[in-house]
Symmetry: C2
Subunit: 204 residues, 2 copies
DNA sequence: GCTGACTGAATGAACGTTCATTCATATCTT
DNA sequence: AAGATATGAATGAACGTTCATTCAGTCAGC
């Protein structure tokens, strides 16, 4: 899997958003058939275009997946940082991150399936991703925790990097569980409880 | 992907452990090339047998993956339950679970790559798995937490099912991060810190 | 010389990608 | 204004490759 530079392969074209159309169709198709199970022809059909048209907008099948990831991750990080503005204290910051994280994922099931399952296809892909946007995200969380330690709001006797992984892992597992569950509950609804647990612990 | 009943496709054969040999080779091969990237012929070569021989012991390529999962998961649950015997209190139980969980994964990198990445190929696969052994595992954790609440060791004002997901998510993320990291640190080494964080929280 | 475990070349289906062709629309020309 | 010409987005059949799986044959052990 090349996973290359990922720029659009052609000019914005007539409808100016056919690229958009194909990307949406790809999310739906990958979510229901899986990345490897889905054929490019399926994506094209779902978008209402011919197979060849996909290659007017995307370099390859891989490029579809990468484009989905990049686009959404950029949005997510931006939304996350915006939400941080005006927060009062580290716990409040974590709460906002959790709400944005679970709020976004809970909003679009197909997108979430792609993110939680399809994107984790192979170490190649994962290394690619985890060493960039995802690393940034984890870094943001660690900073919030370290800052909380600096102000005395959080205990200083723990590794902020480890705590960040635990926090992210909790959110991630909630999301994965949600898409795998047949029940249709609200994902964001648990955000506050998770932060409460993370801050206060289970101990009585 | 069928993901069928997964029984051995043939008799135990001559060396009586050729099946074993192939399974080990499959773990190595899937870990390095990825499940979809690996050819059955690669697995056979790694095992020092011919391609056709694989089909004397396994129904299909999928069956290889399913067999790896089942075998290891059964071992893990057994080891986990054994470790629980003689524990003093809920926090101690969680600590033992964490140690076994991270201890096992930290012991075999290839196996862990298969578990943390390759096994999560598609919702089909994941639903398959999460609705069985994995569900049991999560249930065991929830029971430990609920029991801790009953004895007053843990706060009663939180959902034990949610807490279990958070706990599992933390361990899972640690493992995924470990295999994706280039650094070679000890995975079990963090077990106690995670449990400490889970029990006491980050709050000062 | 039988048995059956083992082999690995052959098979055939699946699928990503290409590209010659079509055709609706825009741009000229008179 | 009407025709002529150009443009390039879109098409989808065809290509070529890649594998999972099969099976006719080999051979070691008894």
């Amino acid at each position: 899997m090349p996973v290359a530079a990922s720029r659009r392969a052609a000019r914005p074209a007539g409808p100016a958003d056919k690229r958009e159309l194909i990307l949406k169709a790809a999310v739906r198709t990958f979510a229901s058939r899986g990345f490897f199970g889905a054929q490019v022809a399926d994506v094209a059909r779902a978008a209402g275009v011919a197979a060849g048209t996909v290659y007017l907008y995307f370099r390859s099948k891989d490029d579809l997946l990468v484009s989905i990831f990049e686009r959404n991750m950029e949005e997510a990080i931006a939304e996350g940082r915006a939400a941080l503005a005006g927060a009062t204290g580290a716990a409040d910051r974590l709460r906002r991150i959790a709400r944005v994280h679970l709020g976004r994922l809970g909003r679009d099931r197909d997108m979430t399936v792609v993110f939680q399952v399809e994107l984790r296809q192979s170490t190649k892909f994962m290394e690619q991703f985890s060493s960039s946007l995802l690393r940034d995200y984890l870094g943001d969380i660690r900073d919030v925790i370290a800052e909380g330690q600096a102000t005395g709001e959080f205990r200083a006797d723990l590794n902020p990097r480890l705590a960040a992984k635990v926090f992210f892992g909790a959110l991630d597992e909630m999301a994965t569980n949600w898409i795998l569950s047949r029940r249709r509950y609200s994902l964001v609804a648990d955000a506050d409880a998770i932060v409460d647990l993370f801050v206060k612990g289970v101990g009585a």
